[in-house]
Every structure is written in structure tokens, then in C-alpha cells.
């Protein structure tokens, strides 16, 4: 740690000519970055530009093919993360790196365990964590299980993990992706404190206004190489974005409303208990039942949720992750039992299986494409069949119609601009954006009446994003009803005809996207603003 005082003149991190090749891809090419100590240094670039790869190299998780790394002026060569930890580097990853079944304390001390006579010194560890949490304003309960924590708390645990190891250089890879504005502000407050304590922060985000807000210096990466080094006080978000992509930016804009009077989907009193599905007591209404459970202090994942979506309408659901969005989707898809009634085109579908619902015309763009959307080790045309096993063109009696499925996949590849050598390519060989376009194309096939689109452009670069938005708008114009769930508030505001906010399983507000700012929306989402705004 004493190196820090000496190093005030020396850069905290110097990356020189870093090159990293993956099979078929050069992720980093001759990257040069200099990070001054005691600053927040932002790195921006579009999806797949190579930011995470670069950070993993700096953290010792991947070895560069070429180039040198200097930390505090000393050249280093890392074999494993422990080498990086050894020189005071810590990293918070793009995805949570937490063991759910462990306590906060166990997650934090893992790999740097304090010992006392052979035992794990939990007492000492708890003291240190509380201390650290106090000084940096990162409140967490060390003895809670991580699986019981919300995303904000998890993010704090991640930062504590890094601080616990005495890191002086922090790498934060998209730490704000899952946070709402208020939580982001809180995080930035923490970061400013850390900076004041002399720590160096390397910060990656796609949200450029955040970057401009917090960063002292910004490096732009495009196609794996550094293209610019800019001062945040001298650029606008728009200029920055154009540097990233090297072209003009699209924005989601609502055009004239296409909302019709016909209700496509009506959900009434959807209620889901946290501790398993129990049958409704005879003679009680769902509302009464929900009231009773609430009174008993039972947690409800969905709490008396009702809404309607008309043909040609996009209903946006805003909410911090973990407030019931996933459960709402699962209830609508029939994956998980819930109380309440769902009508699709005036048919009560609440007792129907997932299959029957899909056959009735519900499309589903899942929130996690790798988990719920794709068979990565199957070909594209087989992925086209997924979800349409019982419908044309995939079905022919008991058989899968391979020829028709292939042909229809060709159509999707063409119409949706899926960049792939052929429809026999395995899905895993495609980039995320192209995988997503395939899914969108698939779910739009067979004229769905109602589409659930969960984070349809998450992790997708700007070009693909614009294309997906266009497809959604076109389908809406053709009368499709869409339930849009997104963490990207600009997308949500830009695409939706109306917005509902979900908070702790309840729909707490109905908002008009035409006069709402992301900040206000964030207020509703975190419960900071209560009440309703009329559409």
C-alpha cells in the first residue's frame, strides 16, 4: 500500500500494445491506455468492442498474446487473478460472481480467508467487513445468504469483495447495468469517496450520461482497438456515442399511436405466492385472499396484478429487476402457477398449458436468451423449431418437417438480417446480437396475437438494436399487442404506448411515456415516488 504514495507521479495502470486473439476473432488489438492514480477512468465502446476482454487481461483471467502491462510503473505479468490481486487490483465483473448458497461474509473472504489456528476466523472477518462497510458507506449484513439479497446489495457485496482484498485499483465492468438511477447515484457516491481516498477506478458502462457524470477521463474502444482518449468535460454524450460506433445513432421514437379498441390480452388479479402455490380457499375472491396473505406478512411475488393490452399497443413494464417481472412473464406463459384470470382474445387461458398458450398465439422473447431462448448446441433451423414444435411449418404429423423448417429459417435470416453462414450453423457460433435477431424473427413467426418482449435488445449493439425496434414497431402497426419489459428506460419510454411500474409485485403506477423522464420513472421504480399518474 505504501507504493501508492510513491506512485502519485506514476500512472496507476499503463497498458501498452495489448493484443488478444480468440479463434476467429481478435478481441483486442494494440490497445494503449494510461490510467492516472486517484481518478475514475471510464472505458466505453459498443458491444463486443473488447472491453471485458481487456479488463480480464488486466485482472489476470486471460493472458494477452502481445503487449505489456505496468502497474504503478512496474511491469507485471499475471498468470492468475491472484497475481493481480497481489498488486492491488480488484475487479467487479459484468455478471455477478457470487455463490448464492454462501453468506455475504463467505463470499467476501473467499480466496483471502483470515485464519486463526487453522480455523476460518469468522469473528475477525465480520469485524473487518463491518468496518469497511462503515467507512465506505456500503451497508450489508455479513451473515445473510446472498440468495436473499437484491441486486443493489449484491453489487455492494461485489465491491466489498474487492475492497476487502485491499485493492487500490478497482475495475468495475458495467456495474450499473442492473441498477436503477437512485442506486446508481448511491454507487457513484461510493465511488467518489473511494476516489477521494486515493483509489483508482476503471469504469465500464454503456450509459454515457453516467460516464460523463463520474469519469475523470474516458477511453473509447472500437473494434478492439483504442480510437480516442477524451476529456469528459469536452464531449457530449452524442459525440461520445458517435466515436464509439463511428456512425449516426438511432433512437427509439414512438410514431403515431396504433392502439385499437380491441382488447388482445386481459390479465385480472394475477397473484403468486412466494412459498409455493396453494389452492384458493372456497368462497374467497383473489383480492380478499391477497389481502389476507399480506396481513399475515407473507410475501407475494405478484400482488393482484391487473392490466389490459389492446391490439396494436405496446405496454411497457418498468421496474427494478426482481420486483416480479420474471414472475409476471412466467404466469402469462403458464410456466408457473398463479391465481387470477388471463384472457387472450376473450378466451380464458389461465388453465392452459404453456404449449396451448403458445399455440393460441403468444410469442415470447425471453430475458435471458441463452437460458430460455436457444439451444446453443443445435443448428439455427432447430432453434427455429423451438416453441413451434406443434405448428406449421415445423410440424408434419408426428414428424418435424425439416425441409420446411429450414426454408422458413432462411426467410428469418433474410428478413431479420441474421448474419450467419447457413441455417445449419450451430447457434453458439453466432454473436449475441444475431442470436437475438433470430429469436425475434422466430417469435414473430406464425402471426402471434400477443408478444412478451423481455429486454429485447439487452447486450445487443446499436445496429441490431435499431433493427429489432423497427420489427417491434412494424408488428405493432399490424395489430400485435406487446408486453415490453426492459431495464433500458430510454427504450421503454421510446417504444411504449403506456407504461406501468411494477414494485414489489404490484403495479403501482400507470404513466404516459410522452411526458416522463427516466429520472422520474426511476423514482417510481424504487418506490421513492408513490401514487398514480393518469395516462
Amino acid at each position: 500500500m505504501s507504493a501508492d504514495t510513491l506512485a502519485t507521479v506514476k500512472p496507476a495502470v499503463e497498458l501498452e500494445g495489448i493484443t488478444k486473439r480468440f479463434p476467429g476473432v481478435v478481441a483486442n488489438h494494440d490497445i494503449r491506455i494510461t490510467v492516472q492514480p486517484g481518478t475514475v477512468h471510464a472505458i466505453v465502446g459498443e458491444n463486443g468492442a473488447g472491453k471485458s476482454t481487456l479488463m480480464k487481461i488486466l485482472y489476470g483471467m486471460q493472458k494477452p498474446d502481445e503487449g505489456t502491462i505496468k502497474v504503478n510503473g512496474v511491469e507485471v505479468s499475471f498468470r492468475t487473478p491472484s497475481d493481480a490481486i497481489g498488486v492491488g487490483i480488484g475487479m467487479v465483473h459484468q455478471h455477478f460472481m457470487l455463490a448464492d448458497n454462501f453468506t455475504v461474509l463467505e463470499n467476501i473472504v473467499l480466496g483471502a480467508e483470515p485464519k486463526k489456528g487453522g480455523r476460518l476466523d469468522t469473528v475477525g472477518a465480520r469485524r473487518r467487513i463491518t468496518e469497511l462497510a462503515g467507512t465506505h458507506g456500503l451497508r450489508v449484513d455479513p451473515d445473510k445468504l446472498v440468495e436473499d439479497l437484491g441486486v443493489g446489495d449484491r453489487q455492494r457485496v461485489e465491491i466489498l469483495k474487492v475492497l476487502y482484498r485491499g485493492a487500490r485499483i478497482l475495475i468495475l465492468d458495467e456495474p450499473t447495468a442492473v441498477l436503477v438511477p437512485q442506486e446508481v447515484e448511491e454507487l457513484f457516491q461510493n465511488l467518489r469517496e473511494l476516489r477521494a481516498d486515493g483509489l483508482t477506478v476503471i469504469f465500464i458502462s454503456h450509459k454515457l450520461d453516467e460516464v460523463l457524470d463520474i469519469a475523470d477521463a474516458i477511453t473509447v474502444i472500437r473494434r478492439g482497438t483504442t480510437v480516442a482518449e477524451v476529456d469528459p468535460s469536452e464531449v457530449t454524450a452524442r459525440q461520445l456515442a458517435e466515436l464509439m460506433v463511428g456512425s449516426e445513432l438511432p433512437t427509439p421514437e414512438t410514431r403515431e399511436s396504433t392502439v385499437t379498441d380491441t382488447v388482445a390480452l386481459r390479465a385480472a388479479h394475477l397473484t403468486m405466492e412466494a412459498d409455493g402455490h396453494h389452492p384458493l380457499p372456497k368462497g374467497t375472491s383473489i383480492t380478499q385472499y391477497a389481502d389476507k396473505l399480506r396481513a399475515e406478512g407473507k410475501r407475494l411475488l405478484l400482488d393482484d396484478v391487473s392490466f389490459e393490452i389492446h391490439k396494436g399497443e405496446i405496454l411497457g413494464i418498468a421496474g427494478v429487476e426482481g420486483n416480479g417481472q420474471s414472475e409476471l412473464i412466467e404466469a402469462l406463459m403458464g410456466i408457473r402457477p398463479a391465481h387470477g384470470r388471463i384472457d387472450l382474445d376473450f378466451h380464458d387461458i389461465s388453465a392452459w398449458s404453456t404449449l396451448k398458450r403458445r399455440e393460441a398465439g403468444i410469442g415470447y422473447i425471453p430475458e435471458d436468451r441463452h437460458r430460455q431462448g436457444l439451444l446453443l448446441e443445435a443448428s439455427l433451423w432447430e432453434n427455429r423449431v423451438l416453441g413451434h414444435q406443434t405448428r406449421k411449418p415445423a410440424r408434419r404429423g408426428i414428424w418435424v418437417d425439416r425441409r420446411a423448417s429450414r426454408a422458413d429459417t432462411e426467410r428469418i435470416v433474410k428478413d431479420y438480417d441474421v448474419r450467419t453462414p447457413s441455417v445449419d450453423t450451430l447457434a453458439l457460433a453466432l454473436s449475441g446480437g444475431n442470436q437475438q435477431k433470430l429469436i425475434v424473427g422466430r417469435e414473430m413467426s406464425g402471426d402471434p396475437a400477443f408478444l412478451i418482449a423481455a429486454h429485447p435488445t439487452r447486450g445487443v449493439d446499436v445496429g441490431a438494436q435499431a433493427a429489432i425496434w423497427d420489427h417491434l414497431r412494424d408488428a405493432r402497426a399490424a395489430g400485435l399487442a406487446v408486453l415490453l419489459i426492459s431495464a433500458d428506460l430510454d427504450e421503454l419510454i421510446g417504444l411504449s404506448d403506456s407504461i406501468r411500474v411494477i414494485y414489489r409485485g404490484r403495479l403501482v403506477a400507470a404513466l404516459d411515456p410522452s411526458d416522463i423522464t427516466p429520472e422520474r420513472l426511476g423514482g417510481y421504480m424504487t418506490g421513492a415516488i408513490a401514487g398514480n399518474e393518469e395516462t
Partner: protein, 380 residues
């Protein structure tokens, strides 16, 4: 589909390398044992001097492959969707004892009787597999444990049946307990005419070349169609590759577990039939055991695909046939088990490596053909 071809080629190369390695390992063992590896190798290919010996050896080899193949198929159906049916062992024993008994209780023309026997075997095997399936679906009981327990139960239950309710007449001085024997007309016709067709001596081995070989082959083709071409097979594959995605696509996991398990059990039920219908005509207390466990190895070796399983079953049967020949050559016959174990392990390792290599190749090919947004293309 050059990608597919590449992959198949790689797989074959990997398997061959693995088998050569396994043979090398065993050669070392044989040398340590004071034997000569070449003698052992020669013994495996020594099918006997006389035409009669050769015909018998070929029949022994193919007959052994038949139950192994069916066992491999049974196991593979479950494994395709990550459902580990370790209970094939128990399923076939229960099915065999019931089928043998039912087959012997009534008189009917041979085709009907044989059909009934096959049906009973499949139904009993399927029902016995239904138990762990229902336990898994309704109570979340791990199928590995449930089927292991049910194996023990099945072994005892089949013993109880063959000793008690299903016991047949026994000759004076006969010590094996057995179900009543099928009449000669109840046996499955043999395939000895194949030998004659080639101008060879038919095997004198009792039962000759088992006709059930044809059933197994047909079964393999049917299962290939079911797994590769039908919607059910697609759902099995989807559930195996990514169960949450399958669920979201409308596949009911519970139905799938039950269907796959029952199908697996039904096929498992047939494992004992070649022996009953081709040779013994009954189930008795020293009926061949352990085929279910060997089936696991065969299925894994064959990558859970009917074609691969056929090759694996033939390989295992070929090695097993060497049991006597090796002893004639004074080589410890236990090298067979070692070779089998080593081949399974090495082939699987080779599979893993070639698979990974093939995927990487595919990714690279896709990236190259596209020249997509990736920063700089690697020129190969």
C-alpha cells in the same frame, strides 16, 4: 453439410486414437503379466480352426451384441435428456421374468405368442421405470438414487417371482429355479439361413444366430427415427440441451420425464428377450445379470446415438467373445474388462476433445465466412 462431416470425421479419428491407446495400455498390462500382447491380439481375431468353430464364434459374437445393443438404446433414451436411468438393470430383470412366465402360460400360434411376450416385456419394463419417473415428477426424488434402489428391489423381486408364483416344473436333480419353459414353437426363429446363404456352415450353437438380432436392428432404426425425426425426439433433445428453454417453448418437463423414462424402461424390458427367445426359453436363477450396467457404458461409448451404440455394442461383444480365446492363449481374460473400461474412458476423453475442437472450428468458420463486426479477421 461439411461442418457435420468434419465433425463426424473428427469423432472417428478421436475414437480410433482412443482405442489404439486403450490397446497400448492393455499391452503393457499383458507384458507385465508375462504374456505377449500379440498373442492376445491374435486371440481376439482367432475365431477357431474349423468352419464349425468359426460359425459358432461368429454367432456367439453377434448374439452377445444383441442384448448389449438394446441395453445401450434403453440407457441412451434417458441420457439424451440428461435423465440418468441407472435402473435399466432392474427393469430388464423384472420384465424378463414376467415375459417368460406369461409366454409360457398360454397356447397360441408362435407369432402371437412371441408378440405377446415382447409386449409384456415392454409393458412391465415401462411400468417399472414409471415408478422413479413418478417419484421424480411428483416428489422431486433424484432418479439416480431411486433407480439404484429399485435395482436392488427388482433383483429380489424377480427372485421371489421365479422361486414362488412363477416357478415351473423342475427335473429331478435340477438345482436352478426357472419359469416354465416355452415350447419350441414359442422361440424366435433363428438366422442360420444367413450362413447357408453365404455357403457357410450354420452355427450349431443352440439357437444359432438369434433372430432377435433383426428385432434389435429394427428397434434401433425406430428409435433413431423417434429421436432424430419426430417432434417427441426434438423435445427430448431440447430438454437435454437446455431444459429451461424447452420449458419456455411449451415442452412439459413432467410429461417428458415420464415419457422418456417409460420409453427407456420399455426398451429395457426387451434386453432379456434375445436370451429367452433365442436360447433358454425361460427365465432362471442364473439368468445373465449386469447387462443394464454394461448398457450404460455402451450408450456412452456410442454417444447416445443408435448408430454409435451399434458400433459400441459390437465392439464390446467382440471383446467379450475373446474370453475363451484369450485363455487358450494363456492371457488373463480380465484384460477384457480393462480394455473395455479404458476404451470407455479414453473414447469419452477423445470425444470431449474433438467436440471442443469441432465447435471452435465451427465458430471460426462462421466468423470467417461473415466478416462480421469483429474487429480484425484472422487470416487462417
Amino acid at each position: 453439410m461439411p461442418a457435420g462431416l468434419n465433425r463426424a470425421l473428427l469423432t472417428v479419428v478421436g475414437a480410433v486414437v482412443a482405442i489404439i491407446l486403450a490397446i497400448a495400455i492393455c499391452s503393457v498390462a499383458i507384458v507385465i503379466a508375462g504374456g505377449r500382447p500379440l498373442d492376445a491380439l491374435a486371440a481376439f481375431f482367432d475365431f477357431g480352426e474349423t468352419a464349425r468353430a468359426q460359425a459358432n464364434s461368429v454367432a456367439a459374437f453377434l448374439n452377445r451384441a444383441v442384448p448389449l445393443y438394446i441395453a445401450g438404446l434403453a440407457v441412451a433414451i434417458g441420457f439424451r435428456m440428461n435423465l440418468f436411468n441407472i435402473g435399466v438393470e432392474g427393469q430388464y430383470r423384472i420384465a424378463a421374468v414376467c415375459a417368460a412366465f406369461v409366454g409360457s402360460t398360454f397356447t397360441a400360434p408362435a407369432p402371437i405368442r412371441i408378440t405377446v411376450i415382447i409386449l409384456v416385456a415392454a409393458i412391465v419394463g415401462g411400468l417399472y421405470a414409471l415408478i422413479p419417473a413418478v417419484m421424480k415428477v411428483t416428489r422431486g426424488v433424484n432418479e439416480v438414487i431411486a433407480t439404484i434402489m429399485l435395482n436392488y428391489i427388482a433383483i429380489n423381486l424377480s427372485t421371489f417371482l421365479v422361486r414362488g408364483p412363477f416357478a415351473g416344473e423342475r427335473a429331478e436333480g435340477q438345482l436352478t429355479t426357472t419359469t416354465p419353459p416355452l415350447p419350441a414353437s414359442g422361440m424366435f426363429p433363428d438366422l442360420n439361413f444367413l450362413f447357408e446363404g453365404f455357403g457357410l456352415l450354420p452355427p450349431t450353437r443352440n439357437g444359432g444366430l438369434w433372430g432377435f438380432l433383426v428385432v434389435a436392428a429394427v428397434l434401433g432404426i425406430v428409435i433413431w427415427f423417434v429421436l432424430e425425426r419426430t417432434r417427441f425426439g426434438f423435445n427430448v433433445k431440447a430438454s437435454g440441451l437446455n431444459s429451461p428453454a424447452a420449458l419456455a417453448s411449451g415442452v412439459n418437463p413432467k410429461t417428458m420425464v415420464i415419457a422418456a423414462m417409460v420409453l427407456s424402461g420399455a426398451v429395457a424390458g426387451l434386453i432379456g428377450l434375445p436370451e429367452i427367445l433365442g436360447d433358454r426359453g425361460a427365465f432362471n436363477s442364473n439368468f445373465t445379470a449386469g447387462l443394464g450396467f454394461l448398457g450404460i457404458a455402451v450408450a456412452l461409448l456410442g454417444r447416445n446415438k443408435p448408430g454409435g451404440i451399434a458400433i459400441a455394442a459390437l465392439l464390446f461383444a467382440f471383446l467379450d467373445r475373446g474370453q475363451g480365446a484369450l485363455q487358450f492363449a494363456d492371457v488373463p481374460a480380465s484384460v477384457i474388462t480393462i480394455i473395455q473400461g479404458a476404451i470407455v474412458l479414453l473414447v469419452v476423453v477423445a470425444n470431449e476433445m474433438t467436440n471442443r475442437f469441432a465447435l471452435r472450428l465451427e465458430e471460426r468458420r462462421a466468423a470467417q465466412q461473415l466478416g462480421r463486426h469483429t474487429p480484425v479477421e484472422v487470416t487462417a
